[in-house]
Structures are given as structure tokens and as C-alpha cells.
């Protein structure tokens, strides 16, 4: 068994600007790893080092226990890559591009390309320049998956995809996982990776600040909750509940921030008539906020 991705104390400086500041990564074979962080945190920089597009200032990066540079084309043969900004010549059709890229990878059966395009509802005979951003992104998804690589490196794969196609994309990721392919995908939105990822690494300021199994991360996540009741509710019913913060009652409406299980809140709310219930997906900033509260400091990697 070889380790698909490993990085140790990886740094990358662009002049005086620091891209990566000592990043460690350890991605296991056959897992789906969500690489999560705000824009500018160093996600793309890390990925471009793994693909030998740029070289680290110091530290070590490895794919399948080989340095990207010395591994060369043979190493990249085992990888499928979707760039964060998928840009190709607009004058060619999707099929032209995919057949060409398939040849560079040693040949991909046309039936495989067609099947993937069908699933994503992508027309391969249209010139790429005429496609919408979402459809162009689908071409990128197909080229990353079509040769069934051992390792998929996907930089913000779902950007521009509509919700239905996002769902189909996540099915592809799940299938890859079943086939023991390893998937490394970056995102700045937790909801994009939480459905499919086994583990999540959180990157901030050029370093991985935490690695968590997705389940425990979800428990820790803070969600904004807003419940509208049929009648005004007393504040004290809710203010003492575990996991609730910033509880405020404004007439019929309860607003609060919920960390972890929703059970207590739901049971308390069930004593009243509930008109609407709104739970916002936790965003990354809330997640970081949860992470940096005093009791979590010892946990930071």
C-alpha cells in the first residue's frame, strides 16, 4: 500500500508573499479527502506543487511516495486533475479535446467518454467556446475521471455546476471511492464536501490547522437557526439549552446559534406550534470560529 499524498513542512514563497507556511498533509489510500479553506489560503498552491507545476521553497511533497518532480510523466499518469480554473481553447469541441487528452494518457475508450458526458448531461459536439461556464466545467470533470486514475486531484470541482449536476458529480466521487480510487478535492464551502468526504483538512494562512473526520466536524459545526412559532415563546425555555448560543426571542421568532446535536432544541420547540424552521448550513468562518475558541486550542494540528 502506498500513500497517495503526503506533504511535510511544505512552504512556498512568492517573493515576499507567503503562499504556504509549513503545510502537512497525509491522505490515505481509498479515502475522499476534503481540502477546505477560504480563498487565498493556499489550496491551489498545494495542488500545483503536487502536480509539479510549481516547486516548493522548502519541505517535501510526495505522490505515491515519489517527489512530483522526479516522478515526472509516469507519476502523473496515475492522477486525474481538474484545475480550479478550467481553461481550454474555445475553438474545439468537447469531444476533440477529450480524445486528445485521452491519447496523452495512453488512450481512453470513446464509450467511457460518452458515458460520462451522458451522466453529466453534456453535449460533446458543441464548440467549447459556446458552452456556459457550468458546461465547460463538466468537460473538466470528464477529463479528470475518464481514465479511472488511482488518484483524483480536484480543485473546486463543483464551482459553476447547478445543484442537479453537483449531485451527479458527487455520485461519481462516491463511485470512485467504491472503486478504491483516492479523491482529494478542495473547496471553500463545507456543504460541497461534507456529503462525500471521509475526512476534512482545514487550511488557513498556508498551513493545515486541523484534520477531522467529517462526522466530528459536522457535530462541531455552528448553524444559525431561526424558528417561527404560532405565538410568542418565553426566552427562558431555550436560553439554558446545551449547544445554544446568542439566543434571542423577537415576538414569535426565535433566533440562535446551534453547535452539535439539534435534539434538545427540537424537543423544546415541539412544545409550541412551529410555523417555519430555518437552519442555515454552517459556513467555514463559523467553523473556524468554533475551532478557535479556547477549549479547542489543544486540538489544533
Amino acid at each position: 500500500m502506498t500513500i497517495p499524498i503526503k506533504a511535510e513542512a511544505l512552504t512556498k514563497s512568492y517573493g515576499r508573499r507567503r503562499g504556504l507556511t509549513g503545510l502537512d498533509l497525509d491522505v490515505h489510500e481509498g479515502e475522499v479527502y476534503g481540502f477546505l479553506g477560504p480563498n487565498g489560503a493556499g489550496k491551489t498552491t498545494t495542488i500545483r506543487i503536487l502536480l509539479d507545476l510549481i516547486r516548493p521553497t522548502s519541505g517535501r511533497a510526495q505522490l505515491f511516495e515519489q517527489a512530483p518532480r522526479s516522478g515526472g510523466p509516469a507519476l502523473r499518469r496515475r492522477v486525474g486533475y481538474l484545475p480550479g480554473d478550467f481553461t481550454v481553447l474555445g475553438g474545439q469541441t468537447g469531444r476533440e479535446l477529450l480524445i486528445h487528452l485521452g491519447h496523452l494518457r495512453g488512450g481512453v475508450p470513446p464509450a467511457r467518454i460518452d458515458a460520462l458526458a451522458d451522466r453529466l448531461d453534456l453535449d460533446l459536439s458543441t464548440r467549447i467556446g459556446k458552452l456556459s461556464k457550468g458546461n465547460r466545467q463538466k468537460v473538466g470533470v470528464v477529463q479528470a475521471f475518464m481514465h479511472e486514475p488511482e488518484l483524483l486531484i480536484l480543485d473546486e470541482p463543483t464551482s459553476g455546476l447547478d445543484p442537479i449536476i453537483q449531485q451527479r458529480f458527487l455520485e461519481l466521487v462516491a463511485e470512485a471511492r467504491t472503486a478504491r480510487q483516492t479523491v482529494f478535492m478542495s473547496s471553500h464551502v463545507l456543504s460541497e464536501v461534507q456529503q462525500s468526504a471521509d475526512r476534512v483538512g482545514i487550511i488557513r494562512g498556508g498551513t493545515v490547522v486541523a484534520v477531522e473526520a467529517i462526522d466530528s466536524l459536522r457535530e462541531r459545526a455552528v448553524r444559525r437557526v431561526e424558528i417561527q412559532f404560532d405565538e410568542p415563546v418565553p426566552l427562558e425555555t431555550f436560553s439554558g439549552l446545551a449547544g445554544l448560543e446568542d439566543v434571542a426571542v423577537d415576538g414569535n421568532v426565535l433566533r440562535c446559534r446551534l453547535t452539535g446535536r439539534a435534539d434538545d432544541l427540537v424537543k423544546a420547540a415541539a412544545g409550541f406550534g412551529v410555523t417555519t424552521l430555518k437552519v442555515e448550513e454552517p459556513d467555514l468562518e463559523e467553523l473556524f470560529f468554533a475551532y478557535y475558541r479556547g477549549d479547542e486550542v489543544g486540538h489544533v494540528a
Binding site: L51, L53, V88, G106
Partner: protein, 264 residues
Amino acid sequence: MLRSVFGKTLWDQRRSLLAWLVGITAIGVFYAAFYPVINNAEMRAAIEAYPEGFLDAIGFTDVTSPAGYLGSTTFGLLGPALMIVFAAAIGGSAIAGDEESGRLDLLLAHPVSRWSVVVQRFAAIVVAMAAVGLVLALGLVVISGPADLGSIGTASLFAASIQLALFGTLFGALALGVGAATGRRSAVYATVAIVGVAGFFGNNLGPSIEGLGWLADVSPFGIYLGGEPLKNGLQIVDSAALAVVSLVLVAAGGFVFNRRDVAV
């Protein structure tokens, strides 16, 4: 055509390559067709009235003989000028253009080495230049009879066209090399323009300035035209020199490219 980077490069550019091919050939043949207009007593007198220094500066020598006329116009001025612009365009797009637009990441993430990309893109440039040389030669062979240029001979027209193609290849290699080394098309265009202009005037004016005669020997124009292929046939040493310098430029560009970061 879709099997390799080389084939795909030519395929993607097929329309613009065809346009350049037709354009350069048409202009070359058009100028050749004008020879009968110039080849008479009044024109000869008019041309002799120009100051000699001016004619030297724009490379016009012996302009009333068939070989002198074609060597001064199609092969001396417009042909190389168009080839330089063509070379800057395709050589600059080869690496730098793809890099600036963000297309290079996807290609280089595939199982193909940077050296291989440079070599295959250069091969596409060589094929494009060879195609221009071949079609131009054929066009000139066809027009040479009606245009009173028959005394030059088919072999010499092909010789000059081959050397023009090699001249274009050299500038293509320069453009590719600078683009591979820097990743910036502005650097490509600036370098090509400086080398082109300096080469042109260095070749034409260097010999008439004390101590600067060597300029013609190192100018791409001097290497390309100095042996007068229209009169003397293919110049093996000059042609080899253009080819070797081209390979050195590509190798130098590839060497730097292989060691640097690819820009986002």
C-alpha cells in the same frame, strides 16, 4: 492529429496557419510579378537617383537584375519581415500564450514532460515554416516565367525559399525560447522586434561603417542572404548555421522552462 501535442498544435491553428500561408505567398508572388514594371530604362534611372546610402539601408542592391530584384523585395524585405511577425505570433503562443491564458496547467498535469511539450511545439513551428517556404517557392516558380524572372531558375528559387523558411524557424525558435523561459508574450514580442530590427540594419549598414562589418556576419539577415542563394543556390553552411542557432535557442528556453514555476 489529436494523438500528440505536435499534431494538436497544428490542428488547433489550422485556420490561422492557412491564412499566413496564403498571405505570405500572395504578397511574395505579387512583388515578383512587378518586376517587368521596374525593368526598364526610366525606372533604372529613377532608382539610381536615390542616395546610395538609402538604398543600402533598406537592402536594395542590384535591383534591376532578376535575382537582385527578387532578393531585395520578396526575399530581402517583405518575406523576412512577414516571417518574423508570423514567427513571433506562433512562437509566442506556443508556451507563453498558453501560460498567460491559464491553459498550460492542464496540459502539463498530463503525462507529458515539459521538454516534450517544448520539442513538439517547436516541431509544429518547423512544419509551419517549411509549408510557407514550399508554397512560396511553388508560387514563384509559376510566376517567374510571366514576370521575366526565368533566369533565376527553379533550383535557386527553392534554395532561397528553404533559407527563408530556416530564417523564419530561427525567429520562431527565438520566440518559443523566450516564451518558455519567461512565460510572457510581451517579452517575446520585445525580443523578436529588437533582434529583427537590429539584424536588418546591422546587415545592411554594418559593412559600410568602419569596424562594424562583423554585424552582417552575425545578423540573421546576413546569415540568411549573405551567400546570395538566388544566384548561388542553397548555402549549406549558412542553412546549417540557422538550424543550429534555432536548436540552441529552443534548448536554452526549454532548460529554463524545466526549472521554473508555471504561472497561474
